[in-house]
Symmetry: C2
Subunit: 425 residues, 2 copies
Amino acid sequence: MRDNLLERRQKVLGRHTPLFYDKPLHLVRGEGVWLWDADGRRYLDAYNNVPHVGHCHPRVVQALCKQASILNTHTRYLDEHVVAYAERLLATFDPSLSNVLFCCTGTEANELALRIARETTGGQGIISTAFAYHGNSAAVSAISSVFTPPEKRGPFVRNIPVPDPYRDRAGRPDGELAQAYAAQVGDAIADFRREGVRFAGILLCTAFSSEGLPSLPVGYLPEVAAVVRAAGGVLIADEVQAGFGRFGSHMWGHQLHGVIPDLVTLGKPMGNGHPLAGVVARPDLVERFTRESMYFNTFAGNPVSCAVGMAVLDVLRDEQLLENARRVGDYVLNGLNRLKARHQLIGDVRGRGLFFAVEMVRNRASQEPAGEETGRIVNAMRDRGVLLSRIGIHNNILKIRPPMSFGIEHADLLLETLDQVLTAS
Amino acid sequence: MRDNLLERRQKVLGRHTPLFYDKPLHLVRGEGVWLWDADGRRYLDAYNNVPHVGHCHPRVVQALCKQASILNTHTRYLDEHVVAYAERLLATFDPSLSNVLFCCTGTEANELALRIARETTGGQGIISTAFAYHGNSAAVSAISSVFTPPEKRGPFVRNIPVPDPYRDRAGRPDGELAQAYAAQVGDAIADFRREGVRFAGILLCTAFSSEGLPSLPVGYLPEVAAVVRAAGGVLIADEVQAGFGRFGSHMWGHQLHGVIPDLVTLGKPMGNGHPLAGVVARPDLVERFTRESMYFNTFAGNPVSCAVGMAVLDVLRDEQLLENARRVGDYVLNGLNRLKARHQLIGDVRGRGLFFAVEMVRNRASQEPAGEETGRIVNAMRDRGVLLSRIGIHNNILKIRPPMSFGIEHADLLLETLDQVLTAS
């Protein structure tokens, strides 16, 4: 049956539509941090951030069903939901970021942010990192260096090296390392200038998620912002991974880094699975962009999406999920560090709130990436009932990013299973 | 309260986020073809095609709620819903169009189709009409001539004149007119060649909706397809407006026009308001594109979206809504033609199934467009409780495109109200 489903899938979706794991998982049910497959086997979800407050959270489902049965239409009519949700959402940002334009996906949010950046600065040049993923449209693919080879990125993109303090620090203090990284942004801007490309801005994931969740030196993003703004560009913070309290200490990743962006893009966790995304922006940028260019998105900001988005904010608050992310996050981090002390394969453990990176190396001195080993661990974890994935330019970093309701008992299961897998490997 | 809501809205969404009507409508409830405002007043919806099978259709809402409470995750796991829905959807297309890639919005679908066209042909040049709207991303805005001035369309776009048989026919038979229009496509391709731009394809709305729903000469699209393919390009049919049986006689607009496209984009009506869209394509194009370029869309094709999409197809079939579109559509068309006989302002009445265009002119001989008058009629209809809009390069064409459950009694109300408004104007 499962083989048959895979065959049927490939026939209609094509052979290259991505699937996780060597043995793809056929899921049929989700609840909280748990997923069940077609054979009734239960899996601990330590990977998915779309079901941000937990799979099928009853309050979110209820908000969805209630509003879907009352009214679901676009924003060319007045509607209380879109306004109330926008107000509530914006209250979590610096007051200078007082406008929001809604979208349906993170790709659409980054598309829109790039359009705003380019049309308001008059520039075309965009900087991203050398191992970034921001979405699947033409303009966003061009800056998504993970899947787009250099020859396809076009003349308007430059990539800075992935910040990798685990390898780069070499005893340097934070300030020095932050300046060294920010200087790479200055180099990219200078390169645009040499080629006659006017600079528009930089777009960075505030978790540097695809890049492997590096422990950035304090002061890095403020330094970058200063360099970017001095050159007339804007800072776009992609909060699709870090946003909605993932780090526990702050609602948004840029707040953790002590910087106020010009544009912020939101996605995945926003609607707990419902397609909801947005661009939060300085109002002068929105004013200038929308005065010249019509922006309208049929499904975005509709009453159902906004009711769902509001329910996610309600649950985050009422279930104190940022506090949970801090508390359980510290517990997991301690546990991962204990595993590091016992397993030589673990070169580095990083994390904040409920987002963790466990970097695997063949040798702690040489720091040689253990990509294949990490792939085997991900699949062995799946076989033992715990779902996670891997990231990083060498694909050697475990990505652990569970729903925000992940508790101590789930952390124990994750840590025990990882211990078993590392011991067996 | 309403003024206050407008003010609050502008504060958070900006001043230029579009709203319908001189007096914006504050809606709070929808059911079938009816909408209610905050004062409890009921409006007949003769405009919206997103609630394709009717606002808040109980079967669609039920499918949404049921699946949202069971499992909502992305397509990197195996799932029965996405496969079953893809199979059911593809069965409505020519067998040569046997692959589908899911998206969340029509913009994303057109983005993806453009990427596939460009990457598989190796060309960049895309043709659209001189008054087209296909979406809001950078690449799709460039071909959306309604809102993007020529200087912003870039070097890779050419626009053909809007086919306007009402003015262009001048006694010519269909074959001659079709060839004349197709020759304009050949001219655009030749212009690309002169400028050294390799041709990728043409993207056309099969209803030519923004363009004013022209009564295209028989043989037009097959002629265009021949010209495009002879030059190595692909034909992309945008079915966001015409699709899912809107024309009553066929499930897809291109089927009405007797042509098989290479790529078909789907959007608005697909999920009855739930963000669901897709690209249906020749499998060799999907194979070549996805072999080279990773395409993944987090929210697209998730179990909830696919359950909703399936419910829409079920309702279309079980409530015989294509047949309804034919029957009620003929009734409305006859009624509009009767109004034309009594009101000099109506220059032309066009329509198929439940999609109608009523073109207003100041003088039937000169065919001078009556843009301002049409604007007043749209607002007067709203004041009398019937919602419609206007389209066309001169903004002088009433756009009437109700939910597919529009019945004879609703048609009578629409026609009577339009008669009153035209009499009073």
